[in-house]
């Protein structure tokens, strides 16, 4: 692999945002994702390759280490920040069509429910896998999902719920989405949700952990 990309991969994997950032201690003073991305672009490396060969594999490693309990969330968040610093450089190329996003993922915690820690983790890991995220936040009703879908046609939807009394709102939201855009792929999750419930309300996929969501989306995209 190109040495520049290898360095960028390392910076993202270990959460080195930019040269000034103190974290991680062992990379102190060295270039971060910010600088390394600029250098890669300057060296004429294709933006698509930067994404596919450095950022996504880096976040893939991070996700794997996280699933294996080898790192904690803050480390993962630092990597996500580093990736963000890199993505800032790549943004224009998405707009111009030079990079194709893997797809758009609209996620939210359903109406009545304010639990968002799990949802945020899922969003972060999906973003790391190269998807564009539209995070609608918490307490989101069907209308707002439909609106987001009309702005992002073809997006995959993710619903999160942590309360047994808001899980039922998931069913409603799924029904309304399937009514207006039957082809929309919908994924559900959250502690009280399970595969049976997912089937029952007519959603397409359930994963107990973000990892499963990422794997499923990657399959969709490939």
């Amino acid at each position: 692999m190109n040495e520049k990309l290898a360095k960028l991969l390392e910076a993202v994997e270990y959460g080195k945002v930019d040269q000034k950032s103190p974290y991680p201690p062992n990379l102190k003073g060295m270039d971060g994702a910010h600088e390394l991305t600029q250098q890669a672009l300057d060296a004429g490396i294709r933006p698509q390759d930067i994404l596919e060969e450095a950022l996504i594999p880096a976040m893939g490693n991070v996700g794997r280490k996280f699933s294996e309990n080898k790192i904690f969330v803050p480390q993962m968040l630092m990597s996500a920040k580093a990736m963000g610093a890199s993505m800032a450089h790549l943004k224009p190329f998405f707009a111009s069509g030079k990079i194709k996003s893997r797809g758009t993922f609209v996620i939210g915690t359903v109406k009545g429910d304010l639990h968002d820690i799990g949802k945020n983790l899922v969003a972060m890991m999906v973003e790391g896998a190269g998807w564009t995220i539209v995070d609608l936040g918490v307490d989101v009703d069907a209308g707002r999902f439909l609106e987001a879908l009309s702005k992002n046609p073809g997006a995959v939807v993710g619903l999160s719920a942590l309360l047994t009394t808001t899980m039922t709102n998931m069913g409603e939201i799924v029904a309304k989405i399937k009514e207006s855009t039957p082809d929309t792929v919908i994924m559900v999750g959250g502690a009280p949700v399970n595969m049976d419930f997912c089937r029952k309300i007519g959603a397409d996929f359930y994963a107990p952990e973000p990892r499963g969501a990422v794997d499923f989306l990657n399959q969709l995209a490939s």
């Binding site: 309990n69 080898k70 790192i71 904690f72 969330v73 803050p74 968040l77 009545g112 304010l114 968002d116 820690i117 945020n120 983790l121 307490d139 309360l163 047994t164 009394t165 899980m167 039922t168 709102n169 009280p192 419930f197």
Partner: protein, 458 residues
């Protein structure tokens, strides 16, 4: 902080079922007066709450209460607390919550009159303010239904008042995920403390007006969230244990405002509150495995006065409904402690010792609950002049204890965990004594679009 001295300073006095300031209830429970009681918690199975389903909702609560009290009676229970922790709709529309309290209270009264079984309801409305972001802690219209439920609910028989209030949570959520201990401390010892002062003044006044019991407030959204995240190995246990210690300075504000206990289960600040203030407390451990897994299954009962299962859905198990089954489990746990109390201090101390030693060195979160450590940390928690200083001192004392314990070899931690210790100490040491200095230091570092200082009286 109001408290400058420990009410219980001898670890051997910090024990289950007894406390210097017990709380007597309407139907004769004497909480902390020589007896541990069960505190049963429960919730609905998967269902919506709306006009069509309301009769079923009421039926569930009726069935839960009857099933639980019938079982408690069968097991010769000395008394039971039923916690009615509302679901959102029941606070948003207080009439629903009040109706459920009435249903439950009628059944409690019936068991009391007919069979002499004493029970009381702990009423825990939701803190609706978290629906607005940034939160309007003092000016929100949502305070109205909350206090309507408090007032009408207590008149309907919800004698013990609690809440899991959320002041500061808008900062804490992200701070937990980032393991940013300074931001956690800011959320708890500055924002949380100020919101508690505001909220509990009102709750205590209302309770006083009607002769009801202002019980307590647990930092569930902070310390319990940290424990769940640590349980999933998302954040270090060392960090989660420290959050718990820091949350004490926030939760104790309820007592400063006049709350008398029993403190609420679920955040495990209880033992510290008991040591500092002498109020009775509620704790949960192994028998709350229906609600969340736990690293403190036994040790959490070491000095508790109520023993809780946190929450279980009204679903069918092979034996019967889940709340009935959990009522039974709590009653047997409590019987064991009460038998020990009856047999005298040797027995209670040995039982406590077994509770403690079975968990203490398995997890930093267990370590902080050892009565001896509770006393040490509590002393540190009241040493300073501000909530900020106290929180910092308590957290540093926890690090001392942790390092001493690691040094003896009784406890070991993986590198992933232990590497956090020096980082945390360094961050803590950078925290100044004075609240205003600390605020000045923190404001540039936190996303200030998330909260409104004036809503915290700042």
């Amino acid at each position: 902080m109001k408290y400058t001295q420990l009410v219980i300073s001898d670890p051997s006095q910090l024990i289950f079922g007894n406390t210097p300031y017990p709380v007597k209830t309407r139907r004769g429970l004497d909480i902390g007066g020589g007896q541990v009681y069960s505190e049963l918690n429960f919730t609905l199975p998967v269902m919506s709450i709306n006009d069509q389903t309301l009769p079923q909702v009421y039926d569930h609560y009726r069935q839960i209460t009857e099933g639980a009290l019938e079982r408690a009676l069968h097991l010769n229970s000395k008394g039971v607390i039923l916690e009615f922790e509302t679901l959102l709709e029941m606070t948003k529309t207080p009439a629903i919550g009040v109706e459920i309290v009435k249903i439950m209270n009628d059944i409690c009264e019936n068991y009391y009159q007919k069979h002499g079984l004493a029970s009381e309801i702990r009423l825990t409305p939701n803190d609706l303010r978290e629906f607005e972001r940034p939160a309007l802690q003092r000016t929100s219209r949502l305070l109205e239904p909350m206090f309507q439920l408090f007032e009408e609910g207590m008149l309907a028989g919800g004698d013990l008042l609690s809440i899991e209030s959320t002041g500061g949570k808008e900062v804490s959520d992200e701070a937990l995920m980032m393991c940013d201990i300074k931001a956690v401390l800011f959320s708890l010892a500055v924002l949380g403390v100020r919101d508690m002062q505001f909220l509990w003044k009102k709750i205590v006044a209302l309770a006083g007006q009607h002769g009801k019991i202002a019980a307590g407030d647990s930092a569930c959204g902070f310390a319990n969230t940290a424990m769940v995240l640590a349980g999933k190995k998302y954040i270090p246990k060392v960090f989660a244990a420290m959050v718990r210690v820091i949350s004490v300075v926030r939760s104790i504000v309820a007592m400063e405002q006049g709350a008398v206990g029993p403190d609420k289960d679920c955040a495990y600040e209880g033992p510290f509150l008991k040591a500092i203030t002498g109020i009775p407390i509620s704790m949960e451990g192994k028998t709350a495995a229906c609600a969340h897994l736990s690293p403190v299954g036994n040790i959490s009962s070491a000095c508790t006065d109520l023993w809780s299962n946190e929450s279980v859905q009204n679903i069918k198990l092979l034996s019967g409904m889940a709340p009935t089954a959990y009522m039974e489990q709590l009653e047997y746990d409590v019987r064991l402690m009460n038998t020990a109390i009856k047999k005298g201090t040797t027995h209670s101390h040995i039982l406590q010792q077994l509770f403690v030693e079975s968990d203490v060195y398995t997890d930093p979160q267990a370590l902080v609950l050892d009565p001896a450590n509770v006393i040490r940390i509590s002393s540190a928690l009241i040493r300073g002049d501000s909530y900020v200083a106290n929180a910092r001192n308590g957290a540093l004392e926890f690090i001392e204890i942790l390092e001493e314990t690691l040094a003896t070899g009784q406890m070991t931690l993986p590198e992933m965990e232990s590497s956090y210790i020096p980082m945390l100490r360094e961050e803590l040491q950078g925290i100044p004594d004075s609240e205003s200095d600390f605020i000045e230091m923190m404001l540039p570092q936190i996303d200030s679009s998330k909260f409104i200082l004036s809503e915290y009286g700042l």
